[in-house]
Amino acid sequence: MITTPTKLVNAKRTKDSPVKSSLFRQSIRKLSKNKLAVSGFVVVILMFVACFIGPLFSPYTDNKINMAMMNKAPHLKHWLGTDALGRDVLTRVLLAGRISLTVGLASMMLSVFIGSLLGALAGYYRGIVDQIIMRIADLLLTIPSLPLLFIFGALLSEWKIPTDYRMYIVMLMLSFVGWPGLARMVRGQMLSLREREFMQAAVVLGLRDRRKLFNHLLPNIVPLLIVIATLNIGGAILSESVLSFFGLGVMPPTPTWGNMIDAANNMIDFQERPWLWIPPGFSIFATVIAINIFGDGLRDVLDPKQKR
């Protein structure tokens, strides 16, 4: 047997470190060739940058009411005009974007976390665990999610939850209705993976369940998770907007894209003052389309088997 000097080994390790990310790099390279996906990604990034940094450069604040400047059409001082309380629409759209994007991202993360964990447990242990988890998921899937969210929203108003907290509760609500579909997909992947030969090797090696799950099975579904997660952000932003539009999600004065479009509910605003509802509407449209295009590109690269 050869004794290996540790120094040599360490030197080799650093030298080989680029190899570590070779799979990841390959994917990036493939993705960068897809022009549409790249443009989607750029739009998403621009939107994030604008929403999170943009308001810092704005001379206006969100809740500063200016009676002299009510319902003004776009002009040099207010690029997108002002609303009924004289607030700058551009600033509000950007601030609303912060909330909408955060809600979208956070509820996606939470539902991916819950969905993949429960799906993985169901697929790995099968039997009674599987039955319990998947029947709960089935139950949630049979209830149309929009009415369910409406009921939740109405409850929130009934209980007089402070508006500051509502944003977080809306995130929880969205992930609550979002996880079952994801859990199903992860469970299916798990069922097929656990029969693969390398998992039998893991059984013969006598590895612990925890290691089998987290070191062997989950890394194999990460590409799928990334794709689903990306596509889910768009869905979550849409759901949040719908809720807020109906006044059941995040409440004014906190602006979100959804409750800003609420302006279109008023016939006069709808016909006479399009600058109130077109900017937030366009923001939702552009963000969701960009995220979906980017997600489709990611799918082609990371998960080619899913392609139809």
């Binding site: 047997m1 050869i2 290996t4 540790t6 040599l8 080994v9 080799k12 390790r13 030298k15 080989d16 470190s17 190899v19 570590k20 070779s22 799979l23 693969r196 030969e197 390398f198 998992m199 039998q200 090797a201 893991a202 059984v203 013969v204 090696l205 006598g206 590895l207 612990r208 290691r211 070191n215 062997h216 890394p219 194999n220 990460v222």
Partner: protein, 321 residues
């Protein structure tokens, strides 16, 4: 003689055939039907037979990858199929499996070093600081280089992957290795390397192998005793020299006559078997081989031949011997 390392007594493994909505059992596939094997420490037992004869199922049942139907499997005196999960986990490192397909038996997302070392950590056999050295030792003793440790499986060739699989089994210092056709997926030059690696490791570490193969020339090179399986049953066991010099069962004779020899002009009496191996769901009555046996007589159709001793360590199941 010392206590055998592995003792398989009258092992049976039937897979149920189910039908209809209620999953009624309408029959059984008798994959393994009454097999007995004893293996001494440091010995190599070869299990040969054509595809579908149940050799892989024997190996997988010994490792409890599938549950047995009947019989007894003792490893170092412990009944494998009656151990609690924690007891079973404790002896897992002592009996390892090497897979046929080096492509599917390595997780594509686990680094080679982790794949080899993780079982050591999981069983608490080595401290975290020493794992890397143990893994490097195993890599080098299997003919790989130390700088391979941080790579992913897709960066290796088939032969190298098979070495990784062997290193993964070896690092645990097992006493028994079940090799399930470890070379049949490799090309001939690599086969030779791997087989030489097997015999070298046996010399240095005193391993016992249960070597499952359909390639008689490989088995002849490596094994001290050989068992021939047909349709789930053992038809003949003998020491290697005895089996190759004096095969008694007509099936063994047919197998041996099919081994290619490197002398092209040599005229041999090839025994060519007609037809395919019958379905194990509905095996022939009497001697299972009588449908294809060139010497079959009436008794073969009705009476199951006894597996009896005909010489020293030479057992055969045939009416005509």
């Amino acid at each position: 003689m010392s206590e055998p390392l592995l003792e398989v007594n009258h092992l049976k493994k039937y897979f149920p055939i189910t039908k209809g909505l209620l999953n009624r059992t309408v029959g059984h596939v008798k994959a393994v039907d009454d097999i007995s094997i004893t293996l001494q420490p440091g010995e190599t037992f070869g299990l040969v037979g054509e595809s579908g004869s149940g050799k892989s199922t024997v190996g997988r049942t010994i490792l409890r990858l599938t549950d047995k139907t009947e019989g007894e499997i003792k490893f170092k005196g412990l009944d494998i199929h009656n151990l609690s999960p924690s007891e079973l986990r404790a002896i897992r490192p002592k009996m390892q499996l090497i897979f046929q397909d080096p492509y599917s038996s390595l997780n594509p997302r686990v680094r080679v070093g982790d794949a080899i070392g993780e079982a050591l950590l999981d069983h608490g056999l080595t401290s975290k600081g020493e794992v890397r050295d143990r893994v490097l030792d195993a890599l080098v003793s299997c003919g790989l280089s130390s700088y391979h440790i941080d790579r992913f499986p897709h960066e290796f060739s088939g032969g190298q992957r098979q070495r990784i699989g062997i290193a993964r089994a070896l690092v645990l210092n097992p006493e028994l290795i079940i090799a399930d056709e470890p070379v049949s997926a490799l090309d001939v030059s690599i086969q030779a390397q791997i087989i030489n690696l097997f015999s070298k490791l046996q010399e240095t570490r005193g391993l016992a192998y249960l070597f499952i193969s359909h390639d008689l020339s490989v088995v002849e090179h490596l094994c001290s005793r050989i068992g021939v399986m047909y349709l789930g049953s053992m038809v003949e066991t003998a020491s290697r020299d005895e089996l190759f010099r004096n095969p008694l069962h007509p099936y063994t004779k047919a197998l041996l006559s099919a081994v290619p020899v490197p002398i092209p002009k040599l005229k041999r009496d090839r025994i060519v078997l007609k037809g395919d191996i019958p379905s194990p769901a509905n095996p022939p009555s009497g001697c299972k081989f009588h449908t294809r046996c060139p010497y079959a007589v009436d008794i073969c159709k009705h009476q199951i031949p006894e597996f009896r001793e005909v010489g020293s360590q030479h057992h055969v199941a045939c009416h005509l011997v």
